[in-house]
Amino acid sequence: MRNDYNTARPLIMHIDLNSCFATVEQQARVRLRGRPVAIVNRRTEHTAIITASYEAKACGVKVGMRFRDAKKICPDIIMLESDPPKYRYVYHKLLKIMNDYSAHVRMKSIDEGVIDFSESTAQILGRDLKDVGMEIKHRLKTEIGEAMRCNVGLGTNRFLAKTAAGLHKPDGLDEVWAHDLRNMYGSLKLTDLTGIAHRNQARLNGLGIYTALEFLDAPVQVLEKQVFKSVCGVEWHQRLRGWEVDKRDFPLRTVGRQYVLEGGHLTRQQVLERLHHLAEETGAKLRSQRMAARGVAVYAKTYEREYWKARRILPLPFTSDRAIYEIAQQLMSGGAPTASLREIGVNCYELTEDTDRQLTLFGDALACERRLVSAIDTINNRFGRRTIHSAHTLETNNYIRQKIPFGSTRYL
């Protein structure tokens, strides 16, 4: 553990597309540029906004706000339904540009990524990395479109690079050196720091830490033993000083899909059809990662803010949609709320690699199912997703749309 600040040259670059989905739509639809735009997952007044353009944000529109409320403060706002293939294309273009500068590129989500220059060529390292940042911004405009903008941050670790990228939005470019640290933290609130939301803020406030600078100056013992009560305290102490503690990958632990129902009026049968659709999508995601699961968890939320969940674990791993749905259906039948359901979800857990397993003594049925699932996947990969699916989910295609994979880039 180091108590000093990391004085090395900032070699980590964080790139963050500004209001990504809204900007991509403004790029695609020329006449939307300069106008307040809200991207939603469903074309209703009650839906929540998943991205707002900077013009909408200037009116006070925030991500997560209901469109109906946004319309009150920004009457000219334009609602657009999300278009995942478009965003996926921009993601791959950005990744391709970033890969030209280093072999160590990691996309953190669909709209942000990190370049680690520490093992880059002498030619790249001989350049001012702020120039490289400007070049990437320029390439984004020429190779995708002139409306594309991104924030670029340079720091000695991933945390500082991301923090630097957020200093001057939109279209900023900032570099943070050790000697800038105190100035930078002096201008930030605790909740401006990535990873410090209201609960962590409350923890810090409880120990008399109210500002980012006080957080920086807090002794490691206080952070470890009193604030976070775990090794997280030590990691925060290091992270704030520019030492790398976030260079790690997390294994896949759960695969799932959730859905906000069209209304609280759906019959039990209709809810089960949607649950089946979610089980099919979960199964497809599971198999795309070549994983098998042993557990299924389901949850339901109601309009009365009731939250219900149930889970079951089986002795043998499974991958088929049918297996997932059968367990999910049994769980749902075992006490889930029936009236005014707002949201349902299915998750698979206890994941293992789906290698060719030894068949059980009575494994013929399992082997048949594996071959059937494999044939269905082959057809769907050849002719398009959901070419073959259960007849039970015939109606649900109109409602449950393809989703933007936030957070993870595994499915992009």
């Binding site: 695609a28 939307l32 398009g384």
Partner: protein, 88 residues
């Protein structure tokens, strides 16, 4: 709420194929009713996959409305799939 029209109309397209970053740019398209639209700007071109088929999606404008044209690279067909003039 904005108004967009979702279509699946086969159209005739004149496009140019170029060097550089914008390899294919649709310039004019004609609908079944004879209406001709002159494209003034290409916003974005992105590929989508339908199984193993690649369909190139072109978001374009004629200055009056936005259009989405889709070129099926296997079947060599153009379709007008969306029209929006909702933010005039």
């Amino acid at each position: 709420m904005n108004d967009e029209t979702f279509l699946n109309e086969r159209v005739e397209v004149v496009a140019t194929f170029n060097d550089g970053l914008k390899l294919c740019v649709p310039r004019i398209f004609r609908q079944a009713n004879g209406r001709e639209v002159r494209i003034t700007k290409l916003g974005l071109r992105h590929p989508t996959v339908v199984g193993r088929r690649t369909v190139h999606v072109f978001d374009v404008t004629d200055g009056q409305a936005d259009y989405r044209l889709e070129f099926d690279s296997e079947r060599l067909t153009w379709h007008l799939t969306r029209e929006g003039d909702h933010y005039a």
